[in-house]
């Protein structure tokens, strides 16, 4: 079955008992047992819930994995994956990754004796150089958020495995519709399912998939012990959203391509960061590992233009954090999603106040372009 069909027909999608074509929403905390310890497959919803099970089977199915594990947010998914490590372990992470992940690594996980090096993972030699004898895992975003830095998943997987480390890939910008890191050798693929997978700005969830039975067992244990589980209703809404992932993202990607081209021709725009542009650094690597450039892009406004004014001047775009929704979202990362970084670190990364991130939704691209044009006009005007 091809992926678009797999997205519509998850295994066991039809209810065996009633014929319902959707999984029931089991809003229950506990399950009645026949005798102590003898139950019908479930005892408590933190440990397992039929609606959540269906979601976990579904995500594994579309990520080309054997196991799926779900969490209450993308950050809960990343946190749970990091709990596979122990004090003294070292992590290599993509420089300039999402501010929430940076905050987790530098302000929380470090307290437990797990230290991270932030490295340009688009540069294999830099990764190699960052390895220490205690490096146990790599956490890679590709494309990275918001600089769209491309990392070569196949090559990094080979390097990581040669050095005995796990490769975790945060695939949020692509979703399995466009990129399936497990097929490229990653050990774990992490999705903030809040974004493209759900796609409707109405659920927070995180998903992890793997082909490794041992890692899956350990993650299920962490999921149950730590308890950051998604609610049955959120699981159900997420599955509902996933059914339209292919049509949504394909449409959004086509619009993003047009918007990227348009921005590239604007004199006010210094640089467009989008792996769909042939001139973009990483274009070839991305093309070799993904089925498309996606629907998120960033661009740098020229000197003298105030990005804060620009992002506040739109009317069709929604000024907000998050991405991957049916609504187009515009963000100024340095002041919104990456606040946890020290200012000097942002400057070093090239993550300036002039950087704007776009997540293209389902609106007519002509409306989106016209809105950006109006906002550029308003930003150029003095005063």
């Amino acid at each position: 079955m091809r992926l678009a069909s797999k997205l519509i027909h998850p295994p066991g999608g039809t209810c065996q008992h009633t014929g319902a074509v959707h999984v029931p929403i089991y809003e229950t905390s506990t399950f009645k047992q026949d005798a102590p310890g003898r139950n019908k497959g479930y005892d408590y919803s933190r440990t397992g819930n039929p609606t959540r099970d269906a979601l976990e089977t579904y995500i594994a199915h579309v990520e080309s994995g054997r196991h799926g594990v779900s969490f209450s947010s993308g950050m809960a998914a990343i946190t749970s994956c990091l709990m596979l490590l122990r004090a003294g372990d070292h992590l290599i992470a993509t420089a300039g990754l999402y501010g929430g992940t940076y905050r987790l690594l530098t302000q929380v996980i470090e307290d437990f004796g797990i230290f991270s090096s932030f490295v340009d993972t688009g540069d294999l030699a830099a990764i190699e150089a960052a390895f220490t004898s205690s490096t146990k895992a790599l956490l890679v975003e590709t494309p990275s958020n918001p600089l769209m830095r491309i990392s070569d998943i196949r090559a990094i997987a080979a390097l990581a495995h040669r050095r005995g480390a796990l490769l975790m890939v945060d695939n949020t910008f692509m979703s399995p519709w466009l990129q399936r890191p497990l097929e490229l050798g990653a050990d774990l693929v992490i999705e903030s399912a809040t974004k493209f997978l759900n796609g409707h700005s109405d659920v927070l969830a995180g998903l992890v998939s793997t082909n490794d039975d041992g890692l899956a067992r350990r993650l299920k244990q962490i999921q149950n012990a730590v308890g950051a589980v998604p609610s049955p209703l959120d699981c159900w809404l997420l599955m509902r959203g996933m059914k339209t992932l292919a049509v949504r993202l394909s449409h959004e990607q086509a619009s993003a391509g047009r918007i990227a081209e348009w921005l590239s021709r604007r004199p006010e725009v210094e640089r467009v960061l989008y792996p769909g542009l042939e001139t973009f650094d990483g274009y070839e690597v991305h093309r070799a590992q993904a089925d498309g450039p996606g629907a998120v892009l960033s661009f740098v406004l020229g000197d003298g233009l105030n990005a804060g004014t620009f992002v506040s001047s739109v009317s069709v775009w929604t000024l907000a954090v998050s991405l991957g929704a049916v609504e187009s979202i515009i963000t100024q990362p340095s002041r919104m999603t990456h606040l946890s970084y020290p200012r000097e670190e942002l400057a070093r990364l090239g993550l300036s106040d002039n950087l704007v991130r776009l997540s293209v939704g389902l609106e007519d691209p002509d409306d989106l372009i016209a809105d950006l044009e109006t906002a550029l006009d308003l930003t150029r005007k003095p005063g």
């Binding site: 319902a20 959707h22 029931p24 399950f31 019908k40 479930y42």
Partner: protein, 395 residues
């Protein structure tokens, strides 16, 4: 001698009907959102359609839904009914019931003090199909006097809205049997915790489940319950008319019913205390609450019912503007229609449904400008009374 309804409490509210999911043990019914309900094969479909299968779920969600069916089983148990059917709203329940049981040439007897849209439907929509309606006072004598050879159905609320008259439903049931007339009671104000009309021999009981049954001001639903031979044709017509209850609403309703007995006790305590407080207040002309000795139907209410709920209707000693000022000064109850939720609500009765009617006609319908209906929630009694006190000071 009429006997009050058998007491039912939280045990019944929590456990009656199908309560745990047989396939997983889930203690809450799963919410099954599905339009079609598929079959393994043509053979399996034929087995179902020709009655050879153990499957109970029809092929399409408009005909039945597993979550809805589960909640219906709980409501049927609470009402002492063979079968209950949920609807998209109380009005969907009432209109489907009437459209199912009546035909051209039939006559309906309706009691005067009832929800305006029920009356409008009978006098307006049903008259288009050749059904005639008599509207009479909510008393057994008046109802009996209106029954003629073409009378097919008597519909009354008890307690009525908003004056809370209580009809002798045991007498009504007997009358219905003698005269071959179907008796229907809208029991929204009483709930099965306080009154179970079917136990007195009434044929069908109707609720706006939006009110006390749901209890949280967060859903809209209706229910009809009674003998299967009467409810099944209504369910069949519903599958055609389509005013069905959705599974999430049914789930929330079933969840609300679990605390019904607890909530009713609090609603009633607030109702009685507030009714007594208002009755003793110089700025209040008259209070209508069946728990007050001054209510014209207090004796029959005490005989039939186990409690009186949280709706208190009263006439303020004020004109239209003074009444509006009083309501606007209230801090705890929100201004809005509906009733029966945990949050208190208040309305100037003329506001919702009567504004387009001239004042003289409103007066004739018994809905004067200074009529206020309070639906007391489960807030602290002293807080509610203090709030009423401060607002009354301004009248």
């Amino acid at each position: 001698m009429a006997m009050a309804t058998r007491k039912i409490g939280s045990t019944e509210c929590v456990h009656s009907g199908v309560s745990t999911c047989e396939t997983t043990g889930s203690v809450a019914p799963p919410i099954v959102h599905s339009a079609p309900f598929t079959f393994e094969s043509i053979g399996a479909a034929l087995d179902y359609l020709e009655g050879r299968s153990t499957r109970r779920q029809p092929e399409y969600g408009r005909m039945a839904n597993p979550t809805v069916t589960c909640v219906e089983s709980r409501l049927a148990a609470l009402e002492g009914a063979e079968k209950a059917q949920l609807f998209a709203s109380g009005m969907a329940a009432i209109t489907t019931l009437l459209l199912c049981t009546l035909k051209s040439g039939d006559h309906v007897v309706l009691t005067s003090d009832c929800y305006k849209r029920t009356r409008d439907f009978c006098e307006g929509s049903l008259s288009k199909f050749g059904v005639t309606t008599s509207v009479v006072a909510p008393s057994l004598e008046a109802i009996e006097g209106a029954i003629g050879s073409a009378t097919r159905l008597v519909f009354t609320e008890t307690p009525t809205n908003p004056f809370q008259y209580v009809v002798d439903i045991e007498g009504l049931a007997k009358l219905g049997r003698e005269r071959g007339v179907l008796t229907v009671v809208d029991s929204t104000f009483a709930t099965p915790v306080y009154l179970r009309p079917l136990e007195f021999g009434i044929d069908l009981v109707v609720h706006s489940a939006t009110k006390y049954l749901g209890g949280h001001n967060d859903l809209i639903a209706g229910v009809v319950a009674g003998r299967a031979e009467l409810v099944q044709p209504i369910a069949d017509l519903l599958a055609t008319l389509g005013g069905i209850c959705d599974p999430t609403t049914a789930f929330l309703l079933g969840r609300g019913v679990k605390t019904l007995a607890l909530r009713m006790a609090r609603h009633s305590a607030n109702g009685q205390a507030v009714a007594e407080f208002l009755e003793g207040h110089p700025r209040v002309r008259k209070v209508f609450y069946p728990g007050l000795a001054s209510h014209p139907h207090h004796a029959i209410a005490r005989k039939l019912m186990l409690g009186f709920g949280g709706v208190v209707t009263f006439l303020l000693d004020a004109d239209r503007e003074g009444t509006a000022r009083f309501i606007d000064r209230l801090k705890i109850p929100s201004l809005g229609p509906s009733l029966g939720g945990v949050e208190s609500l208040v309305e100037q009765v003329i506001l919702f449904g009567y504004l387009d009617i001239p004042p003289e006609e409103r007066q004739r319908l018994g809905v004067p400008d200074n009529l206020v209906r309070l639906s007391l929630g489960i807030e602290n009694t002293e807080d509610i009374i203090a709030d009423l006190q401060q607002a009354l000071n301004d009248v």
